[in-house]
Assembly symmetry: D2
Homo-oligomer: 339 residues x 4
């Protein structure tokens, strides 16, 4: 008897996240019941009670969880944890609540590195200048260029993404300072890192990565006052959640020439056609493209299958991230669309 | 008695390469005679015979070298070795012939990394799209994007610059293959690297760094035939010397969509206004900006002073690169202008 | 109102694990009630119901857990998880069950490295030979010596300790193969490691680290048959649990000269006076000294305090290891005495 | 016409340094004339004038060098440079003077790591205690043990061997301080290292590696006064040349319990039977076994062949170390016997 698996990866499709051999293996090991186009209410009413595993993130209130007598794990393939589920009931029942968010860490970190170097060396404008026939050579073309080797690098928030960024920047040997109120200073020290206040991180970094989660405490935590602490000419990279930043204040800091910044996220997406970000100097723009690579989506399927197999064998999952009892209720994520 | 030092860093100026405290220290340790605007012939006729050290790369024929009875070192602050000097006479006399080229390795390597990521993630076009209001989000904006972690990386030539590139890419954990006919396979193996033929490097790399020196043997060594070996969609980065590549063939390979490339160098600089490179798709352009950073120029001064001090103390120089008796005559470098 | 903390670190003493300032801070943040010499039954009957945190690993059956209405975490300061607790009741209640075992990983890993090199270079015997005046110089003294750089290194089991060993051996650039049935191949691949069967690990490694946990499945998993697979002259390092190995078979393999081994653990401790291990050739001996360093014991206190502070602030613990619902019942650890 | 190669690796034998396929290749590329048992004077009188390459380190005065009209390189396979040659004449003639000393760096570095850990964890005595049935378990057996992760590590001298040691200790993440009067502070800084005075290195290191070359200036540079600067309980590792140390003072520092030391070298070798080093407490002994491994000797042959092939192809040698004009005359090495 194969364990029953409900497959409801909406807004993603099974084909987006499972390469053919992975999907084949999934069917081999599990009795897969896909929701497909069916309406959710009826689907879960019919199938949840006999399911051992659920791939998806539907609304599951206490009654639903109570009804899901055989359920052992919920794997959310969006990447965030939405406030649409009775998490405490899951924890009490020993149901693993997992997310595939780690698949995004590497592609996001690589874009962070690419954006940092694009800012530091003015790569997009220099390319444009050659295309337009107005390039300047050598030193004359490098007025604002700097190397990043040995730079002071700050992290505002230091979770999986921060760690991936740090690994990815390793070739530049940055000197690192971390602000993350969820982490012990001793933990960071054992990793060879130093902990500091938000103010100190901002005031003494050449490059700041803003990768904090959105909570009531972190919303708009970086505004005009904080940007004013940053050294003139320093760089801010925003690859986490836009809500952590007062976006208008960021635009002002860039426009004034004090900061250079790159962002992959915006307070509103799609960005309104007339949004001032589009014309702000010293601001490098990317349209929420950091994580959503074809290869990352297939890795969702691989990690999902790997953890399902471990759990079916009575072992703990290791490939996905677990919801933390203390944190999941603090997160203020928005649903993803199709990123 | 301070040793006499002739200072003739043309086409650079002393102020470009020596920060104030470095210049002060230079004067403290040495009896500095600067050529300034003076005509070279007369300057060397008057001063060379009593000089212990020369910073610069003037034409020095055998008679001049014979005349330079006290000369112990020539430090070329351009970065290449020009065929304007009787190198053998220098070697026979035990005169160190040095170049500050290592100062450029780190900034060039960082630009290589930035260009690689800009290509892999289409950073300049994605920025432009947001500015122009035509951006696409998430997966839709990532059709041609790929991650570089674990990619197969080839080197055509592997000197100081290749090594700096490898260190700088370390955070991406590339799997590396090297083609360099000047290096023993065993030497590479001891560094954990594998040696391969040019054909194999091209045929099995996702990213190829072309950083070979220009010699009669390497001129235009990469042409249509070689580019045809490269996997479709692979990337070529040209941060060394343009002469190593058949540039028209490179433009064709990019235009056809087979390759993506980035180049910091051109067969002719400045690039003619109507040069087809300016409009070639899949080609990222940089106007010989890789090395010429203010910080690199000051490092020229620091390394020059450091080696002068070592030599004045009777120790071997370590901060500059030494001309190799066997190689210096093979190099076909062109004079730098002001890069 | 400070949260109440029961302190019962037996068989360790509070002074052994808490340096003075750490203990002071503990009292500052918590209402500490120490069991001291008091009999356990009465102590827990009186204090458990009002306690938020418990440092220690007393027997806690279902009734006790039910009674512990305010309990939020149990921190076991021995390093193993004993079968003396209703773990499921803890999980259902959301009580964190933690262990300070990570403090031992670094000292154990360093001893592993020291023992490996001592075996590879015959350090103890060579010292003895000089003391005894019978030393041989140079090559003559190196008949059995080998370097470890680039060696093939196998792991049987790959948890926290395996990872610490791998980091600690990094300077020797080993080529690594891992056998651990609790880990996905994909997980290892993402860390740049390869997964393999036990047979393959044994048959193709120059150095094998045995660091698997003791379970019904792993008991005596390495015996004569397995040792016969290992290449002649290869090395086995036993720094985890002796029960994983058929110890007599290991002694035979060493005595025969096929293997060289080092062990820090024994099937019985103290080792009987006449145990044959004491005289076995090619076997390097250490008396369960790998982890029990003064500095590691104080790190127990630091990690304990750090996690208590996080939990008191409503955050998840990060400095100790969490019991895994699926694994804790499989472990067959014995109580520590004073290591 | 193959270039002629004189083979005179005394005191080593060709069979010791050339594995069979390497020797075969040597004969394939070169016209090898081996001295064998022949008396040197006659051999060189007959063969030197037509030789392109010489593997060995015979006495070569100015007349001999003058006579060696075709000579392009001398490869010394002992590892030091003896004062038995007119080096200046070689340099003037463009004859490469090379040594295979780099082959010893890795094995010596690994022994340094093994000795450091053996000292830090008292590995030899702990083994002996178990053999003798007097072992103590856990903390009781660890009175003098310490971990090395993150320790302060000093280098007195920092050449090839120092660098190999640093790489080999990388898994312990030491914080490094270097004293080497032949190196610029800037050079070290670019490698991420800090330069310091001898006094500061000694006073602030937990582990000191003494790997300086012997010169008139470095002879006995470390004596009672210097050892007194070292922190109580710190460790000294002597794997370079014994002459750098006042050996009696070192024995006293160990005997007093202030220092722990390990040495692979002695002022006199073989060590006299009644030498007090044999019984000195806190001193770990190794009988000049650090470099002389079978594998290192064969690497001599591989590097020698590799550089001969490069030079025969008109390329610079890269696998052996070059004599430095400024330093070779300062070295006070003694001939090796058979290490």
């Amino acid at each position: 008897m194969k364990p029953r698996l409900l497959l409801d990866p909406s807004p993603r499709t099974p084909a987006e996240i499972f390469a053919a051999p992975v999907l084949a293996r999934l069917h081999e090991r599990f009795d897969v019941v896909a929701r497909g186009e069916r309406e959710a209410e009826g689907f879960y009413a019919e199938h949840l009670s006999a399911a051992s595993f659920l791939v998806g993130q539907p609304a599951l209130d206490s009654a639903r969880i109570r009804d899901a007598k055989a359920l052992r794990a919920i794997i959310n393939v969006e990447g965030n944890f939405l406030p649409n589920m009775d998490y405490d009931a899951c924890f009490a029942r020993g149901i693993h609540v997992l997310s595939i968010s780690p698949v995004f860490a590497q592609p996001v970190a690589e874009l962070a590195l690419g954006l940092a170097l694009a800012l530091a060396r003015d790569i997009p404008a220099a390319h444009r200048d050659v295309v337009d026939g107005v390039e300047r050579y050598g030193l004359d073309g490098n007025a604002a260029s700097r190397t990043l080797h040995g730079c002071r690098m700050g992290f505002v928030g230091f979770g999986d993404l921060g760690r991936a960024i740090l690994r990815t920047f390793a070739g530049l040997s940055p000197r690192v300072l971390v602000h993350d109120p969820w982490l012990s200073a001793g933990l960071l020290a054992r990793e060879g890192l130093r902990s500091a206040s938000l103010e100190r991180v901002l005031a003494t970094s050449d490059v700041v990565h803003v990768v904090a989660s959105v909570t009531d405490a972190s919303k708009a935590m970086l505004g005009a006052e904080q940007f004013a602490l940053m050294p003139s000419g320093s760089m801010l990279l925003l690859l986490g959640r836009a809500e952590v930043v007062d976006f208008d204040a960021l635009l002002s800091a860039c426009a004034s020439g004090r900061l250079r910044a790159a962002t992959d996220v915006f307070p509103e997406e799609p960005l309104p056609a007339d949004h001032p970000a589009r014309g702000t100097p010293n601001l490098l723009l990317s349209s929420h493209r950091a994580g959503a690579l074809r290869s990352a989506l297939f890795e969702i399927g691989e990690r999902t299958l790997a953890d399902l197999e471990l759990m079916a064998d009575g072992l703990p999952p290791q490939n996905c991230k677990r919801a933390e009892r203390e944190l999941v209720g603090r997160l203020r994520s928005k649903p993803v669309t199709r990123s």
